[in-house]
């Protein structure tokens, strides 16, 4: 009896940031933790794989179309006799890098536009939201293809193309949160204690608006990876860099004879995006105060 009381006391006195509580919620969610572990494995493979398993992914190492396992090549070779395992590891690097960079760009553009629109309202909001809607109605794949075709197929341009077409949902979520939070009493209280507009946006409103934006950003990483795969399948990617979509694209003629060559990178994309979705869902549950157990 007395032991329970002491524990309760400690629990009450331990200060906990709301995000720390969210982590406790997240940890107890099995599918989200599974997703996180898979994601960490993919990141590990992308970062350390090419170091541990060295070689040039463009080198012809063995006869083309060798099925997985033959001659020590764990995943076999593609139509040019290149080592598929090496290509997958290098591709993981590209996918993760583009996924994170494009999601980051998306979030930066989205938060900036959404925060300004939601905070200042009036004509600022009108102008920024019309621009957002303009980007939202453009066919995204087509628009990004045009950008890549115009400015050249290199990693930064592909990242930019993905970021530029996918920010509108983030901007709209940010604006909605700002519209809600700016009317709350603690914002008025902060104003009454002399806080400037920039600080109100950055230090008072934004930290409170973050939870749904974080969830959206996590899901953005997944959709950016899919997007990159789509673009490189169409050949709109840097030809000197291996990526998963590009492996599928360049081997697509042999899908009937040697299906493993397109299946393996396809599975890699599928597993990575699934893991990110699970993490995103887990974040959503953990950051949603309505689902939080008190």
């Amino acid at each position: 009896m007395s032991v329970t009381r002491i524990n309760l006391q400690e629990e009450l006195q331990k200060p906990s940031h709301p995000f720390k509580e969210a982590w406790v919620m997240f940890r107890s969610n099995h599918s989200a933790m599974f997703g996180l572990i898979v994601l960490l494995i993919v990141i590990f493979a992308g970062v350390f794989g090419p170091v541990l398993y060295q070689g040039d992914p463009f080198d012809m190492v063995w006869a083309p179309f060798s099925p997985p396992g033959e001659e020590g090549y764990l995943l076999g070779t593609d139509y040019l006799g290149r080592d598929l395992l090496l290509m997958i590891l290098h591709g993981a690097r590209v996918s993760i890098a583009i996924g994170l960079a494009a999601a980051f760009l998306t979030v930066v553009i989205g938060i900036t536009i959404g925060a300004l629109a939601g905070f200042y309202r009036g004509w600022v909001e009108e102008v920024l939201m019309r621009i957002t809607e303009f980007f939202q109605v453009l066919p995204t794949l087509l628009f990004s293809m045009v950008i890549v075709a115009l400015f050249g197929a290199s990693l930064p341009i592909v990242t930019f193309a993905i970021g530029v077409v996918s920010w509108p949902p983030v901007a709209r979520i940010t604006r909605t949160e700002f519209l809600r939070i700016r009317e709350l009493e603690y914002v008025t209280a902060a104003r009454a204690s002399g806080v400037s507009n920039w600080k109100l946006i950055g230090r008072v409103i934004l930290p409170n608006a973050l939870p749904p934006i974080i969830v959206q950003a996590a899901l953005m990483v997944g959709s950016a990876i899919l997007f990159e795969a789509g673009l490189s399948f169409l050949g709109l990617t840097d030809p000197n860099i291996v990526s998963w979509g590009q492996i599928i694209g360049s081997n697509r003629q042999y899908i009937l004879d040697s299906s493993y060559i397109v299946t393996i990178p396809g599975l890699a994309i599928f597993i990575t995006v699934l893991a990110i979705s699970l993490v995103g869902d887990g974040l959503n549950d953990a950051l949603n105060p309505k689902l939080r157990k008190r």
């Binding site: 006195q13 709301p18 009036g122 603690y186 104003r191 002399g194 806080v195």
Partner: protein, 329 residues
């Protein structure tokens, strides 16, 4: 000595769907250093708007000062720049709000929120601000201030949060503290503590207090002077004891008679609880040249509906805006 805050003929208009209406109409009052003045009236009478007007926080694009001046130490705040107003807010004039449960930012600790004001206005570094925050928490009588400075708002009760709000408001030792119904959301027992705290700290920091409330008991206890507002207009003002003992305006009289009395013995005969019939008129009617209280007033006659009564000064600055002052008492 000139007053610390002097409001003259202030008129604040709100833009509504049917044009603009004066939510504060020809308000004048002054506040001396170290004094507590109370604003009394029903909801929607312009008390909170007066507070927001002083701080320059009228709802953007909707409310604006169209006439009159708000002079703080001789400086007209209605003409001050945004940057100057930010210097004043929280530093020389600060405000606490009605809802302590929602007035603190949920993602920062209370210590960080007190420190924020100090760093904004006092150029303190993080360590200085933190130790000052602990002192302030101690001053607002939060037990174990050192241990609680890293707490988040949701770990505190309503009364404690209001104490934190007072600590934030008084952090820079402002000249004026505006308290907008600071205890309405709190338990009766906590209310008394908060009032006592405000009174003590007001004396200690030599801060003048503008107390906005509809609690007559709080007015009697806290304030030296009171100002009764109705539909955006000042209807009566004067020293608290004089106004409560001898109200000159029928609205003030009504408000005072609405306060329920505790009985010494449960077996005593209970006097019926008084009420003022009707409601405050809608914003659209605020500007009319008539007595706006006439519709609810037992003394109203034709004159009340035809011409607006202006405040009539009496002795000790006790004034009332009514055509029938002599009939009230």
């Amino acid at each position: 000595m000139s007053p610390l805050l002097e409001i003259e003929n202030l008129r604040v208009e709100l833009t509504t769907r049917d044009g603009s209406a004066p939510v504060i109409d020809d308000l004048s009052f002054s506040l001396n250093a170290g004094e507590t003045v109370s604003f009394v009236g029903e909801s929607g009478c312009g008390k909170s708007m007066t507070a927001l007007a002083i701080l320059g926080l009228l709802p953007a694009g909707i409310g604006r000062v169209t006439r009159g001046s708000i002079k703080f130490n001789g400086e007209d705040l209605t003409k001050a720049s945004d940057a100057r107003m930010r210097e004043i807010r929280g530093n020389e004039i600060s405000m606490i709000f009605q809802e302590p449960m929602t007035s603190l930012n949920p993602v920062f600790t209370i210590g960080e929120q007190i420190a924020e004001v100090l760093r904004e206005h006092r150029d303190m570094n993080a360590a200085q601000a933190r130790s000052r925050a602990i002192e302030l928490l101690d001053a607002v009588r939060i037990p174990n201030a050192k241990g609680r400075v890293d707490d988040y708002p949701h770990q505190m009760s309503g009364g404690q949060r209001q104490r934190v709000m007072i600590a934030i408001a008084l952090a820079c030792e402002p000249k004026i503290l505006i308290a907008d119904e600071p205890t309405t959301a709190l338990d009766v027992t906590v209310q008394a503590q908060i009032f006592e705290l405000m009174r003590d700290l007001g004396r200690e920091f030599e801060t003048s207090i503008i107390l906005i409330t509809h609690d007559m008991g709080a007015v009697a206890e806290m304030a030296e002077r009171m100002l009764v507002m109705y539909a955006g207009r000042k209807v009566e003002a004067g020293p608290v004891d004089q106004v409560i003992d001898h109200p000159k305006h029928p609205y003030t009289k009504g408000l005072i008679s609405c306060v329920p009395h505790l009985l010494a013995e449960l077996t005593d005969e209970r006097p019926p609880l008084a009420e003022i019939g009707g409601i405050v008129p809608g914003l659209a009617e605020f500007g009319r040249n008539q007595c706006l209280y006439a519709a609810r007033c037992p003394l109203a006659d034709d004159k009340c509906l035809q011409e607006r009564p202006l405040p009539l000064a009496g002795k000790n600055g006790h004034e009332a805006a009514c055509w029938h002052v002599e009939k009230v008492s």
